[in-house]
């Protein structure tokens, strides 16, 4: 049976169509979820896409975390549902306390869009098991508030527990502490990533096909997961 991967649309979500396309190219069935509907429609995994949910007003992700759908996602994630938050989705996961730390304004104060090399540090998560540890991948980054910050103890713990999923290589595009581009929760089912793997899934439109690995990973994870 084809895995069903939910993609949430908040008001102001922008990369929801791209995330759904990536899910489809990876071989799964994308299921569009609506911010106002707490029903997850039985999906096997969820992607919180990039964009400017609620205009990024107040603080990125701060309003989205209170959307009805998020209540269901937080509960399901604590129960092991694989959740990937990309860019704005990462911000929402931090606001929802599924992941520690916060994403703040890029240190250079500009929005920045470039093709970025990442090193996969943790290949054991639900979203990165298709990669080799240490593998370098090329993924577009594009954000205005992508600077990952946390207190030193949290950063130490993330590193000690192998929860830094990916780091920026060859230049840090936003000033993130310890070059952190992606992190995961303790169980490894929830991943937040600032760059956009959904923009690297077709040779025609992306700088590489490296992004596809995040989506095929979750399929692999689901096959291996107990029903």
């Amino acid at each position: 049976m084809t895995a069903r991967v939910g993609v949430v649309t908040f008001p102001g979500s922008l990369d929801d169509g791209d995330a759904a396309r990536a899910v489809r190219i990876a071989g799964a069935e994308p299921v569009r979820l609506w911010h106002g509907d707490p029903d997850l429609h039985g999906v096997d995994a969820v992607v919180l896409p990039g964009g400017f949910s609620y205009g990024d007003y107040l603080r990125c992700g701060a309003i989205a975390r209170f959307a009805p759908v998020m209540g269901s996602i937080v509960d399901a994630a604590r129960g092991g549902l694989p959740v990937l938050g990309i860019c704005n989705g990462f911000q929402i996961l931090c606001e929802a306390h599924l992941l520690p730390g916060a994403l703040t304004r890029n240190q250079h104060l500009h929005f920045r869009n470039r093709d970025q090399v990442l090193r996969i540090e943790a290949a054991g998560t639900a979203w990165t098991n298709a990669f080799q540890p240490g593998q370098e991948v090329l993924i577009p980054v594009k954000n205005g508030e992508g600077c990952y910050v946390a207190d030193p103890a949290t950063l130490d713990r993330l590193e000690a527990e192998g929860r830094v999923v990916a780091r920026y290589v060859g230049g840090n595009p936003n000033g993130s502490q310890r070059d952190i581009a992606a992190i995961t929760n303790e169980a490894g089912n929830v991943v937040g990533i600032m760059p956009h793997p959904e923009h690297a899934v077709e040779a025609l439109t992306g700088p590489s096909l490296d992004g596809l690995g995040f989506f095929t990973s979750v399929l692999k994870h689901l096959v291996g997961a107990p029903a």
Binding site: L14, F111, K142
Partner: protein, 919 residues
């Protein structure tokens, strides 16, 4: 909010509520009955930019004096930017000379032209200006420029899918450029990124002539199923008029502020911001809501609100259907409850659309709006034309008082039209005689090498990544090519691979030297930029940026430019589908270079066949062959080289032969289709040298170039590398394809020359017998300029790092701090940085800033920007210009680009927008 739908009125919309004139002023509004009873009352029409004869004409149309609200409406609808009164007589050529096209679903006069590209799909695109607001308030001016053009595209029934932004600034090292550019770029990015539209190209040009008048043009591309095309007509008496989107505030009403009634307190002046403020989040919701309404076939007509706000939307939708309208103005949701009727009608608050909805669909419409969290309010209804066959009337009440009773067509179609006097500028002959071909040229290898490095680092030719990486080019996942490629290419059908290519180009220097041919050159360049991707060019849009039309010299330039574009499109066989005019881009008596910006759209049947600009990496031992297509002449006048190295502008721009451009385009499309091309790159500013460098750096693949024999010796190698002859393209051809390719060139009559090979292993660009420069050195020269000039934020980063981590001792950076960061990057703020930098930048980049004079002049401008640029007194217009009666003449092609919805808003329109401090 007081809503007062009087059922009796709804059924008999012609009835005017009666109220004694004596009561009205107490209510603070000037009513229709009061206006009829007080014909002698003085009205500030001159301050609103209306001439005596224009005001008389309004009284004649109405048979009485206008009310305040009506006066406000006429003054903005008859302003230059809404009525196109100075340009109309010229723009009609776009219709008259239009080549036949069976692709055009909507053309001139609509919000944007719509072109069919397959059985099911059509695209719509248009470019507009937002120049003056962007000088006053760079971020919001640029942001709302994007917002405005996006709504134009949305109003046609299309989903906006990409934006582009041709930008022009003053000298790169001028302190005020460091204020304007970062704000404009952040505004374009801030709005477009938040809207989820990829930015796929544009221009960043520096020239002192734009110091007080930066040009911020914005283009949007949209895609729609052909059967989803929307109309703006308010048809169907009884249909409901719905205002959807943001609340209405006092944004952009500076122009009618003189109408503040006597009941206003003294502080009212401060309540009128005249630059609009954008909310891209609201616009994103508006887009989704509109598209859902279209798909469910819930709207009869739709119009965006841009320049002239509600006034324009109400009158245009009614006028185009010949119907009338009854509007209850107090139903309009307001941000500021104290707003008066004329302010509500003139407000240019962003993110609003006007819908015409049949009553049985109203509930569904409101529900859709609610789903997306967008306000939608029924504010009126469509009324029938009068029984005698005359168009209906627009009746607007405010709390039961009739404040407007006008024939809508009189505002839209019956505005004044001027055949303004034109005269070739007196200095043009001398300017043309001062040819750049006589300037000293580099003639030895060292000088040539140095010239190349200096040219690629000059602000206009330097890498623009500092700007473009502030834009999202990936969102929506259909961007096949984006800047710095010659064209942006967007896939519009994932199933078939169908796509479009878009390029916008302009060259103010060429147009200054010869507006007719300069405009054709801009058209040729945009056309060629589309063609090099392998696409077939099919349609044209334009944004015509000029000085004051009251200056006969400027008017002559304008007329020549329009004639050039219309002739050029006829020769190329592609129609102009829409556009925009921006006048009054001048500071005092000094106008900008005439700057026609031309956008060309092409179709690619399969975007997988698109040809990129960069040389292609090959395995060891393999390479591609380089060919130069077209002919190179000694054409240096108006060139980037003449400007950068001699601060020279004079002579006659390069020849343009559009028949040859057409042959070239056909060749490129065919060669791309059969796989002869690894890369193709247009030659324009900076000539072959620039193209070689760009194609090499794109993917880090060098080249070895051999000079053709007839370019050997003396300064001929220089001419070969830096001449700006038109109609040329640099292509790389895979081994094994050379014979077929050159045979195809011969067959198509396109001159070609073998000029070398790519050299994937060498990591250098070599011109045989002249120089060899490593790609690293080229890259350093090419990419350092903009960060050095505008990289203030890099310094901020250093600061933040120091403050936050406490691990370093770096102090807030200043140019004096000896820290191991490029000192030029370290200035704390753009202003401070630019203030310190000019000397260095002028030396290094040698941009021809007329340093001293320009700086002084512009400093004045900065202090009183609006007053300086907006010579508002049109009463002084030359007496010999005859206001023609245009009842007939506007009917057809004159509407060309007359698109009065004009999200263009404030662009240089003193009539609409006198500076608050001027009056």
């Amino acid at each position: 909010m007081t809503t007062h739908p009087d059922p009796a009125l709804r059924e008999t919309p012609g009835v005017v509520p009666q109220a004694g004139p004596a009561d009205d002023w107490a209510l603070g509004v000037d009513t229709v009955p009061r206006a009829a009873g007080t014909p002698e009352e003085l009205q500030p029409y001159a301050e609103l930019g209306l001439r005596d004869d224009e005001y008389d004409r309004i009284r004649h149309i109405l048979g009485r004096r206008p009310t305040q609200a009506e006066l406000a409406m006429y003054s903005i609808m008859w302003s230059e930017h809404c009525s196109y009164k100075s340009s109309k007589v010229h723009l009609r050529q776009f219709g008259e000379k239009a080549p036949p096209s069976d692709r055009l679903l909507a053309g001139i006069g609509e919000n944007a032209g719509v072109v069919q590209v397959s059985d099911e799909l059509a695209v719509t695109f248009k470019v507009e200006s937002h120049n003056h607001p962007s000088f006053v308030e760079p971020y919001q001016g640029a942001a709302t420029g994007v917002g405005g053009i996006v709504r134009d595209i949305l109003a046609m029934g299309a989903r906006p899918v990409a934006v582009m932004d041709p930008l022009r600034f003053g000298a790169a090292d001028h302190p005020d450029t460091a204020r304007v550019l970062p704000g404009v770029v952040a505004g374009v990015g801030g709005y477009g990124n938040c809207l989820g539209l990829p930015n796929i190209g544009g221009e960043v040009v520096f020239d002192p002539c734009y110091q007080g008048n930066p040009l911020v043009n914005a283009l949007c591309l949209g895609v729609l199923p052909v059967d989803r095309l929307q109309k703006k007509d308010a048809t169907g008496p009884g249909n409901v008029v719905v205002l959807m989107g943001a609340k209405t505030g006092r944004d952009g009403i500076g122009g009618v502020s003189v109408l503040a009634s006597a009941t206003f307190d003294e502080g009212s002046e401060q309540r009128r911001p005249s630059v609009q403020v954008g909310d891209p989040f609201m616009e994103k919701l508006l887009i989704e809501a509109c598209l859902e309404l279209y798909d469910a076939e819930l709207v009869v007509g739709i119009q965006d609100l841009g320049g002239a706000g509600l006034t324009c939307a109400l009158t245009e939708t009614a006028a185009s259907a010949g119907t009338g309208m009854r509007v209850w103005l107090e139903r309009v949701p307001l941000r500021e409850p104290s707003m008066e009727p004329h302010e509500i009608l003139a407000s240019e608050s962003q993110e609003r659309m006007l819908l015409v909805v049949s009553p049985d669909k109203l509930e569904a419409v409101l529900k859709t709006a609610e789903k997306w969290g967008v306000l939608a309010t029924a504010i009126g209804e469509v009324t029938a034309p009068s029984p005698d066959g005359q168009p209906g009337r627009l009746l607007i009440t405010w709390r039961d008082q009739m404040v407007v009773d006008v024939p809508p067509g009189s505002l839209v179609d019956d505005g004044p039209v001027y055949a303004r006097p034109m005269r070739e500028p007196a200095d043009l002959i001398l300017l043309q005689a001062d040819r750049a071909e006589t300037l000293p040229r580099p003639s030895d290898p060292d000088a040539l090498r140095e010239t190349l490095l200096r040219m690629i680092a000059s602000p206009n030719l330097a890498d623009k990544t500092w700007v473009t990486e502030q834009y999202d080019r990936y969102v929506l996942g259909n961007t096949v090519l984006a800047q710095p490629e010659d064209s942006g290419v967007i896939r519009i059908d994932e199933r078939t691979g169908l796509g479009v290519a878009l390029s916008v180009d302009g060259n103010g220097r060429y147009a200054r030297l010869d507006p007719y041919h300069g405009t054709k050159l801009a058209l040729a360049e945009a056309y060629r930029n589309v063609a090099v991707t392998g696409a077939k060019p099919i349609a044209v849009t334009n944004c015509l940026n000029f000085g004051s039309p009251e200056d006969p010299g400027v008017m002559w330039q304008f007329a020549e430019a329009v004639r050039g574009l219309a002739d050029g499109c006829l020769e190329l066989g592609i129609p102009v589908t829409g556009g925009n005019v921006s006048f009054y881009n001048q500071t005092g008596a000094a106008a900008i270079h005439p700057t026609p910006v031309v956008g060309v759209l092409g179709v690619l049947d399969d975007v997988a066949e698109r040809v990129p600009m960069g040389f292609v990496p090959r395995p060891a031992g393999d390479h591609d062959q380089l060919f130069l297509l077209g002919e190179t002449h000694v054409e240096l006048s108006g060139s980037e080289w003449a400007w950068v190295t001699h601060e020279h502008l004079g002579g006659i721009p390069p020849q343009v032969d559009l028949a040859r451009e057409r042959q070239l385009a056909e060749l490129l499309a065919e060669a791309a289709r059969v796989g002869h091309l690894s890369s193709a790159h247009d030659l324009s500013d900076g000539g072959l040298a620039q193209s070689l460098v760009e194609s090499s750096l794109r993917r880090g693949v060098g080249a070895r170039v051999v000079l053709p024999e007839h370019f050997a010796g003396g300064s001929m190698p220089f001419v070969f590398l830096f001449s700006e002859s038109a109609g040329r393209v640099l292509v790389s051809v895979p081994r094994g394809h050379e014979k077929a390719f050159t045979a195809l060139c011969a067959e198509r009559g396109v001159p070609w020359e073998f000029i070398g090979v790519t050299d994937p292993a060498a990591g250098a660009l070599e011109v045989h017998g002249q120089f060899r420069i490593g790609l690293d050195e080229l890259r350093e020269a090419h990419t350092a300029t903009l960060p050095r000039l505008f990289g203030g934020a890099e310094a901020a980063r250093v600061e933040v790092e120091a403050t936050r981590t406490g691990t370093t001792t770096v102090l807030p950076a200043t140019a004096e701090q000896p820290i191991d960061v490029d000192p030029a990057e370290v200035a704390a703020e753009p202003i401070a940085q630019a203030g310190a930098a000019p000397a260095e930048a002028a030396t290094e980049a040698n941009t021809a800033a007329e340093a001293g004079d320009e700086a002084t002049a512009s400093a004045d401008v900065a202090e009183a920007p609006v007053a300086d640029e907006a010579p508002a007194d049109t009463a002084e217009a030359p007496a010999d210009e005859a206001p023609a009666d245009v009842a007939d003449s506007t009917a057809d092609a004159a509407e060309a680009t007359s698109d009065p919805d004009g999200s263009v808003t404030a662009t240089g329109d003193p009539e609409q927008r006198p500076a608050p401090d001027q009056h």
